[in-house]
Every structure is written in structure tokens, then in C-alpha cells.
């Protein structure tokens, strides 16, 4: 592996997930040496375990965090607002693989939905047309099924119930993808063996993650200095206000400094704004890249909610790909339903260990155990829709609670917008009808889990007063500071975010490369 001297002014990427891993791959492929600092370890497919709690403890980001706001997560999982990973590959190690694109108007929700009280909507500085070539490249990288001539996954048991229910209630747009796990061998990865442990890393290596594809290939170029167990605590800058280095803790907890020519922050929507805020200085008293005051704001987590339904006959939902089932019929903006935006329905299967904890946190007694007792006969779906960006839904530093390095932990504040609640209730009702049409005898409205989709805390904007980065992921304030991860999302759309994060990262990398070549940074 490449060794870059700590005193050498390097291109430094913080995080190796969807955003950071893709950036490392694109830059090294273009001949640019990089240092990638990743807080977590590098698990290989043989390290993954077919065990829900086991995999969670192996990969999840468990550093202290706090919560506030009226969201139920703050009550049920007050120290665990999100379900994110600390590992090479970031949360793509845990992700399932649903890869829809945004629709055209989802890049312009302010123009489309109009002014909605309490919602801080803003049009993106990019359009679907700008994004299309990058979407194609991201789909080819991920190996999305149903795209680029790639085969669809076969129907598993959970999908059979879902699709037949969809059909019976009159929906049309159901399919087993697009999904980022191979149905057939593609790009060096085998077809799925349907082991049911896709969330747990996928021991078969059929699922795309940056730990599986981008990071190993970046290492193969000989240009990547990947430092695992390296947790960045501060980005430093020079007198001119340009970033010039990062401070991090190494595997032994010792403080190190890497000099930097360019810094690309890819720590996800919680850690990226936190790091910018932690990097405050006398020149930047509100944190780096924060002249707009937008760092940490407009935190979104998608609508989400799940519906589990129990039947008289076996389903065995745990067998097969976890989320290979899609239905798009409710995704279009149609205010007649009583809310703006729309949502997808996607199959979701949990084992008894997770289902019991997440079905209805805090629930107990006969009704709950009746449901659990019928575990073999349960089918499940996830509802994922656009939630409204709100200025006060935000990541801030909680100076009362310190992490293992003595730094303030991030507090994640989230209040639900009325639109979110209206959409979720509508979606629950529709989902109940869907499952009842195929004979459900008991249904359960499961509230949102700790957030798996974390978006929007360093939003992209055309104008510097409205956001943190421009349409190339470059911070409005500091020209050699980029952000490439879920935090740059201006608004959330209904689509699962990772395809868009990956496509944006590919797009941003072109700007980093050209600016470096021109000697501008």
C-alpha cells in the first residue's frame, strides 16, 4: 500500500462510505494519490456474521450521541438516533441495495410544491439532466438490477406476498428492483445465494459496497494510503483561510496530523457537520464553511415506517434478499392525497431478534406476542418517502456529553413536519389494504427505526447564503474543502439516497481533478 508522508500536503478524504469510497476510487483512478482516513476497521466478507445483533455490534457507529425533538426515536433510542456504520465501506456495508433515481421535479421541490409552512424547501443547483450520466455510471458501479441490461432478482417469499397484494389493490409499478445485489455474476461479484443476510455485510460478496469494490480497486492503483481506525477530530486552516491539515486519533488513540492540499469530508450527515463545527477557530468561530449558518441544519431522515402483516400460512420472509421488492405507484407528487411529495414501498425482512426490538419499541403483552408467535407467517414492507427539510432539525454540538476523545458529541434534533405525519398515516392505511387483500389476519404499524437514511446537513445550493456547498460539492467559503456524502442533499426526494450520493461523488470528483490539474487548489 502507498505510504504518504504525514508532512506531505495530500489530498485527504475523511470516511470511506458511499461518498468517500467512491471519491477515493475516482481520484486514484485519475492518477491522484490520496490519504483516506477511516474511523472504523476493514472487515472482509469472511468476517461478516449471519447474526443481526452480532453484525450490528461489528459494524455500527456506537460512539455516544444524544437526541432531542418530538420524534419517537428520541424516546425509544435516545442514544442511537441513527443506524450508521463505522467501518471501511461506511454504511454501504449494512445497506440493502435499493437504488431508484430521483425524478426530475424532486430536484426542484420549492418550485414544484410551493411554499409549505415550516418547510425549508430549496431547488437543487443541479437537475436530473445534469445527473443522468452520473446516475448511469453509479448504477453500473453498483450493478443495479433492471438497469444496464442486468437481470432482475427472482421473486422471494416476501416479494410474492407484496407483489400480489400490490396487484390486487390496483398498483402496477412493482418489481424486484432496481437493487444493488447481483442476480447473476457481474463485475467480479457472484450472483446472490439468497442467504437473507444482506444487511449483515453479505458473506457471499454479491452485494455492492465500497468495501467490496471501490476501496480495494483504489488500493490496487497503488495510490491510496488507507488508514483504518483513524478518527478525524479537527480540520485545520492557514492564515488565508484555506484548509491545510487534519488532526486525527490513530488506532492507539494517539493524536496525529496529516498535512493537506485538499480535504474532502465524507463522514455522513451526522459526523460531517459535527466535524465542521468542531473545527471552529478564531477566523471561523461558527465552524468551517459555515458563513451561511446552514451547517448542521435541514437534517432529514426520510419519512419511513414499516408495515408487518401476519397471515394464516407460512411466508418465511427471512429467506432471500432483504429488500428486493419495490412499488412506485405512490411516489408521484399528488397533493390531493393531503401531502406533498410521495413514497416508495419496499419489501423488508427482519429476523426475530430485530423484529422484537423494532416492531413497536416498548410494546409487551399478548397482542405483541401473538404477532411474534406468528413469525413464520409474517411479511413486511418499508415505507420510504420524502420528508420536509426544516431549519431547526439539526445536528449541533452537545457540550454536556463528551465522546471517547473528550469532544462534544453530536445532538440530533428532529421534529416531525405535519406533511411527514400525513404521508405516513396515508401510507400505513394503503399498506394495510395491500396486505389485507392477500389475507392478512394481523397488521402492525411499525414506527421509524433509528435513521438509516441521513441527509441534508450541509446542503448544496446555488447561492452561498442558502447552503454549504456548490453544485460541485465544493464549499462556498473555502475553495479547497469539499463535501461528498449524504449531507450535501438539498432536499431528500422519495428515493433511497445511496445511488444519488454515489452519482454526486463521481460528479464532484471531476471537479476536484480539474481544479487540481489547473493548479487552482
Amino acid at each position: 500500500m502507498k505510504k504518504i508522508d504525514k508532512k506531505e500536503k495530500a489530498v485527504v478524504i475523511i470516511g470511506s462510505g458511499a461518498g468517500g469510497g467512491t471519491m477515493a476510487y475516482e481520484l486514484t483512478r485519475a492518477g491522484i494519490p490520496c490519504v483516506c482516513l477511516e474511523a472504523g476497521p476493514f472487515h472482509k466478507k469472511e468476517d461478516y456474521v449471519n447474526d443481526e445483533w452480532g453484525a450490528f455490534l461489528q459494524m455500527a457507529w456506537l460512539d455516544a450521541r444524544t437526541t432531542s425533538g418530538d420524534w419517537r426515536v428520541a424516546k425509544d433510542f435516545s442514544g442511537l438516533p441513527t443506524w450508521l456504520c463505522k467501518a471501511v465501506g461506511g454504511t454501504t456495508t449494512h445497506w440493502a441495495g435499493a437504488t431508484p433515481r430521483f425524478m426530475d421535479y424532486e430536484f426542484k421541490t420549492k418550485s414544484t410544491y410551493g411554499n409549505l409552512k415550516g418547510a425549508n424547501l430549496l431547488d437543487w443547483p443541479v437537475t436530473l439532466k445534469d445527473m443522468e450520466p452520473y446516475y448511469t455510471r453509479a448504477e453500473d458501479a453498483i450493478g443495479s438490477t433492471h438497469r444496464g441490461g442486468r437481470a432482475a432478482l427472482p421473486a422471494n417469499n416476501n416479494y410474492k406476498v407484496f407483489a400480489e397484494g400490490a396487484k390486487r389493490v390496483g398498483y402496477k409499478f412493482y418489481a424486484t428492483g432496481p437493487y444493488g445485489t447481483n442476480a447473476e455474476p457481474y463485475d467480479g461479484r457472484p450472483g446472490s445465494v439468497q442467504d437473507g443476510f444482506n444487511f449483515q455485510g453479505d458473506k457471499n460478496g454479491s452485494k455492492w459496497s465500497t468495501a467490496k469494490r471501490e476501496i480495494p480497486r483504489a488500493l490496487e492503483t497503488g495510490l491510496l494510503d488507507l488508514r483504518t481506525h483513524s478518527h478525524v477530530t479537527k480540520i485545520t486552516h492557514n492564515k488565508e483561510g484555506l484548509v491545510d491539515g487534519v488532526i486525527y486519533r490513530d488506532v492507539d488513540g494517539n493524536e496525529q496530523r496529516q498535512a493537506a492540499q485538499v480535504v474532502i469530508v465524507s463522514g455522513n450527515s451526522i459526523e460531517s457537520p459535527r466535524l465542521l463545527l468542531l473545527s471552529e477557530s478564531s477566523m471561523f468561530p461558527n465552524g468551517l464553511a459555515n458563513s451561511s449558518g446552514e451547517v448542521g441544519r435541514n437534517y432529514m431522515r426520510h419519512l419511513t415506517g414499516s408495515m408487518y402483516a401476519r397471515f394464516e400460512k407460512p411466508v418465511k420472509m427471512w429467506r432471500g434478499e432483504t429488500m428486493a421488492g419495490f412499488c412506485a405507484d405512490e411516489v408521484k407528487h399528488n397533493p390531493k392525497r393531503g401531502f406533498v411529495g410521495g413514497y416508495y414501498m419496499e419489501t423488508l425482512a427482519l429476523g426475530p431478534a430485530f423484529l422484537s426490538s423494532f416492531l413497536d419499541p416498548g410494546a409487551w403483552g399478548r397482542e405483541f406476542t401473538d404477532m411474534m408467535d406468528g413469525y413464520e407467517n409474517i411479511a413486511g414492507m418499508w415505507i420510504v418517502g420524502e420528508d420536509m427539510p426544516q431549519s431547526n432539525n439539526r445536528v449541533t454540538l452537545n457540550t454536556d456529553v463528551k465522546d471517547q476523545y473528550g469532544n462534544p458529541v453530536p445532538n440530533v434534533h428532529f421534529d416531525e413536519h405535519k406533511n411527514d405525519i400525513a404521508m405516513r398515516n396515508y401510507a400505513y392505511e394503503k399498506a394495510e389494504k395491500l396486505y389485507e387483500s392477500v389475507g392478512a389476519i394481523q397488521t402492525w404499524r411499525t414506527p421509524p427505526y433509528p435513521s438509516t437514511h441521513n441527509l441534508g446537513t450541509n446542503r448544496m445550493s446555488a447561492k452561498s447564503k442558502d447552503g454549504v456547498v456548490n453544485k460541485w460539492g465544493r464549499s462556498h467559503d473555502i475553495k479547497n474543502l469539499y463535501i461528498a456524502d449524504g449531507s450535501v442533499m438539498t432536499t431528500g426526494a422519495a428515493a433511497n439516497p445511496t445511488l444519488t450520493i454515489t452519482a454526486l461523488s463521481i460528479r464532484f470528483s471531476e471537479n476536484v481533478i480539474s481544479q487540481l490539474k489547473k493548479g487552482n487548489i
Binding site: N50, G79, R101, Y105, Y174, F197, K316, R319, G365
Partner: protein, 201 residues
């Protein structure tokens, strides 16, 4: 609240545990690291108290077809984790005392449920409930009783072992509907027109 406890400064999973919690209570999850010999277990560690806790776990998560063993393992975990520190010990011993005062051991399911409803917000109840929901449903015997098959990769997954063996519904389409692209592309203002188009198909 989540607290990571890293014993001996070693980050390996086998030594990692954490507290997974809600406002009312927190559960000490240590899936590999249950080593009761390390903890000084005193409160609740006798046959009489254990019997009460076993009954309570069963009343909170009643499964008539489950044998005693998984409930007993869960109760042991409730007791071990209830001895984690002095505050927990106090909580546990007071909780058990109150069960005794209420003659809980003799109450039938209906009356037990009524009593548990009354103490639902207590730290003791939350400790028992939130420990049990994790431990009981992470128990391999319980998985078997529920029909869940656990780890499958070493058996080749389910590709040839029934990932699609559901036979009480027809086999669905797996490809996308031919109109999907037009539907997604359509201007939302033209939605009504598109919906009509779909109905005509």
C-alpha cells in the same frame, strides 16, 4: 443512552458490549461477553426470586408453546444485568420485594397483566422488559420455536432451499411495468392524465 464498554482497551467484537437504551431504562447487551463469574451476582440470585422473575418475563412476553428453558435463561440475564452496579441492584431488589408484597407469584395471567400495567413505568419493569425483549428473542431455542432458521450462509443460503417456496399465491412479475419510465418522467401536473393512461392498459 449508549455506552460502549471496551474491556482491556481491546476493540475486538468479542469484548465489546454496549448499553442500548430508552429514557426509562437501558439494556446491557453483551452478546458474546456474558461472563457472570466476573460480576458479583447477589440480588435475585436464589430459587425463589428467580421463579418470580421467570414468571414475570413470561407474563410480559407470553408464548404458551415456549418451554421454561428460554424464559429461565432470560431471567438469568435480567438478574445478571440487574446487578451491574449498585443503582441497578437497588432497583432489582426493590422490584422483587414489591412483587412479593403483591403476592405476584400466585396471580393468574389476567391479574398479573393488570399488576404489570400498574408498574409499567417503573425502572424495574423497564429493566425486565427491555432486557427480555432482546435476550428472549435472541435465544436460539426461541428461534427454532418461531421457525426462524438463523445463520444460513454455511448451508449455501436459500437459493436451492426454498427462498421462493411460498405456494399459496401465484408467482408475480419481477420485471418493471413497461409504463414505469413514463410514469416517473411525467410532470406531476400531468399526473391525472397519466393515471388515466394506466387505467386504459
Amino acid at each position: 443512552m449508549i455506552i460502549i464498554i471496551i474491556e482491556g482497551g481491546d476493540m475486538s467484537i468479542s469484548r465489546r458490549s454496549f448499553v442500548f437504551g430508552s429514557v426509562a431504562a437501558s439494556v446491557f447487551i453483551s452478546l458474546w461477553d456474558i461472563n457472570p463469574s466476573k460480576a458479583e451476582v447477589k440480588v435475585g440470585d436464589n430459587a425463589e426470586d428467580k421463579k418470580l422473575i421467570i414468571k414475570m418475563v413470561r407474563d410480559v412476553y407470553p408464548h404458551d408453546r415456549f418451554p421454561e428453558a428460554p424464559y429461565e435463561r432470560t431471567a438469568n440475564d435480567v438478574i445478571t444485568k440487574g446487578n451491574a452496579d449498585s443503582a441497578k441492584k437497588t432497583m432489582l431488589s426493590e422490584g422483587i420485594e414489591n412483587l412479593k408484597k403483591a403476592n405476584y407469584g400466585k396471580l393468574n395471567f389476567k391479574k398479573s397483566t393488570k399488576y404489570l400495567k400498574k408498574i409499567e413505568n417503573s425502572g424495574f419493569f423497564q429493566h425486565v422488559r427491555s432486557t427480555s425483549v432482546v435476550t428472549l428473542y435472541n435465544d436460539q431455542e426461541v428461534w427454532g420455536l418461531l421457525g426462524y432458521e438463523g445463520s444460513s450462509f454455511e448451508k449455501g443460503g436459500y437459493i436451492n432451499r426454498g427462498f421462493n417456496d411460498l405456494d399459496w399465491l401465484p408467482d408475480p412479475r419481477i420485471e418493471e411495468h413497461p409504463d414505469l419510465a413514463a410514469f416517473l418522467k411525467a410532470d406531476p401536473n400531468r399526473l391525472a392524465a397519466i393515471e388515466d393512461m394506466i387505467k386504459l392498459n
